[in-house]
């Protein structure tokens, strides 16, 4: 029983990290078809934001509270710049955005290496998040609980913004049918920029959260990126619901596979499951009903 609860918790924890990393991707990939390989570097930028803020502020608790919105702004600003300078010109060539943003990612990684150095840096965890809590007979680190809560809050915030605000309605309209939305008077350019800002900002938040459970190096973001993309692919483009289910499922699978084999075999297992899953549902878990052929 303890083992099961422990594994369940590990799965949820991995899933919530994946979800934080994938949430922003799901927005930008889903709406614009842009495959942003620099998303991982936006996460890394969030990590370093937390580091810089802590160096400046000192107190771990206060710095975390400042770093979360700061990370959102840093990630979002980088996303805005990327969208305005490059991606805007490439919307008709979505596959090419993948390689362009990979190049941007390379540059950002090297920039981080030059500014902060190649060795990993650490952000100290605030007092109130140290130690663990006993849940159903299993000791659960508070940092992991915090990340789960943050994932839940982020998803809720995105869902609420999309559903109830005018900006969210415009975003949904553009995702649903770009041409029709433009005909209805929505400036799809503004909406694209806004989506990219939010999506990249979420990467920054994910980065800040990641500093609580691991150290930060220039390649931190990259290690989460592929898994995050798999979440988006399995969940279905542009579906928050899909991202949530897929992230938790992938996290749980990873945890279960790891119990019975090694971490490396678990990765391979997850990959096989996704390929098989795409046989059943090529468009992912939840699909937008469209009449397009693509």
């Amino acid at each position: 029983m303890d083992l099961l609860v422990g594994q369940l918790f590990t799965g949820l924890s991995t899933g919530s990290i994946l979800l934080l990393a994938a949430l922003g991707l799901s927005l930008t990939f889903g709406q614009m078809g842009v495959v942003n390989m620099a998303h991982g570097e936006f996460i890394m930028a969030g990590c370093y934001t937390a580091y810089v803020v802590q160096q400046a502020v000192g107190d771990a608790g206060v710095s975390l509270l400042i770093a979360l919105p700061a990370g959102f702004l840093v990630g979002g600003a980088m996303g805005l710049v990327l969208e305005a300078l490059l991606l805007r010109r490439l919307y008709h060539r979505p596959l090419d955005t993948l390689l362009v943003t990979f190049g941007v990612g390379l540059i950002l990684q090297q920039a981080a290496r030059d500014v902060f150095g190649a060795p990993a840096v650490n952000v100290s965890v605030p007092e109130f998040l140290r130690g663990g809590v006993d849940l159903l007979g299993v000791t659960v680190p508070k940092t992991r609980l915090f990340i789960m809560a943050l994932a839940v809050v982020s998803v809720a915030a995105v869902a609420l913004v999309l559903r109830f605000t005018p900006a969210g309605r415009r975003i949904r309209a553009v995702v649903g049918n770009r041409d029709l939305a433009e005909t209805a008077g929505i400036s799809s350019r503004t909406v694209d920029a806004a989506t990219f800002f939010i999506g990249s900002g979420l990467a920054g938040v994910a980065g800040v959260a990641l500093t609580l459970i691991g150290s930060t190096s220039p390649t931190t973001g990259q290690s989460y990126l592929v898994d995050a993309f798999l979440v988006v692919v399995a969940g279905g483009l542009g579906r928050i619901k899909g991202a949530v289910v897929a992230a938790v499922a992938l996290g749980a699978m990873q945890a279960v596979f790891e119990t019975y084999s090694t971490a490396s075999l678990a990765k391979v297992g997850v990959f096989i499951v996704i390929v098989v899953f795409l046989q059943l549902r090529p468009q992912g878990l939840f699909t937008l009903r469209t009449r397009s052929l693509a």
């Binding site: 495959v35 596959l95 190049g103 990612g105 090297q110 990259q222 692919v233 490396s264 990765k267 090529p282």
Partner: protein, 355 residues
């Protein structure tokens, strides 16, 4: 341009390439530089395959490192087995396994003492794997970015899998080979022979790619790239067309990996994971992804620049790589081959292309 599209032009082109590769290069380059060129030729062989799958077929394969790695590891296993047998007789354990404390030869290693079996596996295993994966993916019409991400995840999973395998050298991979099918690898003559093998394979691979491009199949492949639905409505199975190009690209990458191992002397997970797999694309993009020779020239140029610059200016070279990706893909999607066309378009009054 017309000349090179004619039959005579093709033969002239191949003759010129053969003359440069087999005549001039060995004359002009020192042994060390010839070895480097041999290594670059391996990348060029991979690039020809990527040009076919990505440039002609529109499949963004971010996982060619998997097939490159398969060929490389299969060849490396045979070389390690041969070395062990040479030192300690049949059934001996390769040296790195002794260091890792593995006393028994793992069962899957045993057949690789046979050169014929090894070469057959190098040709068949990656191709069969690509066909299976391709059928699974393309039959269900998983394409575009989905396919790119899957192929990338495959490269990541493969590298992680290899790191976990102590019986394949783990993180360090396989290295220190002494003999290549009985030829001593320290002998400069044999190193030159390896260069000739790589150059010969490149020419063969180019000939195969050229034939594929000129055949009806080549037309079909481009049609699938540009309008898959229309091809399907005409009654063709687009998935089969894609699978063939994907499998051929996989085969090319595998052969390149197999030749790469004796030339470079090491293969490890670090050279076949996600990042190296994407790096294979840089040269192809620069040279012109849809052209025949562009990928080769691009791959050679990038590999040469990497060797020349990365040691002296590691930081600047990484920036340059990133910038090249951004600039070439964003501004010159046709590669250097399209510079003429692009400048011409700027000189003339811009005309809206018929979509």
């Amino acid at each position: 341009m017309k000349f090179f599209q004619s039959r005579l032009g093709t033969w002239t082109g191949f003759a010129a390439a053969a003359l440069v590769l087999f005549g001039l290069a060995p004359l002009l380059l020192s042994g060390f530089r010839l070895g480097l060129l041999a290594q670059f030729l391996c990348y060029a062989i991979v690039a020809v395959g990527i040009g076919l799958a990505w440039g002609r077929g529109g499949m963004l394969t971010l996982g060619q490192g998997v097939f490159f790695g398969m060929g490389a590891y299969l060849m490396a296993m045979h070389l390690k087995m041969a070395d062990a047998e040479f030192r300690n007789g049949p059934g001996a354990v390769p040296d790195f396994m002794e260091l890792a404390g593995i006393r028994e030869l793992p069962a899957y290693w045993a057949p690789f003492s046979s050169p014929v079996f090894t070469i057959a596996m190098i040709l068949l295993l990656p191709t069969a794997f690509a066909v299976l994966l391709g059928l699974a993916v393309f039959k269900r019409r998983v394409k575009g970015a989905y396919f790119a991400i899957l192929s990338q995840a495959l490269a990541g999973a493969f590298a992680i899998l290899l790191i976990g395998q102590q019986s394949l050298g783990g993180f360090n991979g396989l290295s220190r080979f002494r003999y290549f099918f009985g030829y001593n690898l320290d002998d400069p003559v044999n190193q030159q022979m390896l260069y000739f093998i790589a150059a010969g394979i490149l020419l063969v691979v180019l000939a195969v790619a050229l034939q594929l491009r000129r055949s009806r199949y080549g037309e079909l492949l481009v049609a699938v790239r540009d309008a898959e639905e229309r091809v399907r409505f005409l009654g063709y199975d687009a998935a089969n067309v894609k699978v063939v190009a994907y499998a051929v690209a996989a085969l090319f990458a595998s052969v390149a990996g197999a030749v790469f191992v004796p030339i470079v002397g090491i293969i490890s997970p670090a050279s076949i994971g996600i990042v190296p797999s994407i790096m294979f694309l840089l040269g192809v993009a620069i040279g012109g992804r849809a052209t025949l020779l562009g990928p080769v020239i691009g791959a050679l140029a990038v590999a040469w620049a990497q060797t020349a610059l990365s040691e002296q200016f590691p930081s600047a070279w990484t920036y340059a790589q990133g910038l090249l990706f951004v600039l070439v893909i964003a501004l010159l999607p046709g590669g250097i081959a399209s510079v003429a066309a692009v400048t011409k378009r700027f000189q003339r009054k811009p005309v809206e292309a018929a979509a």
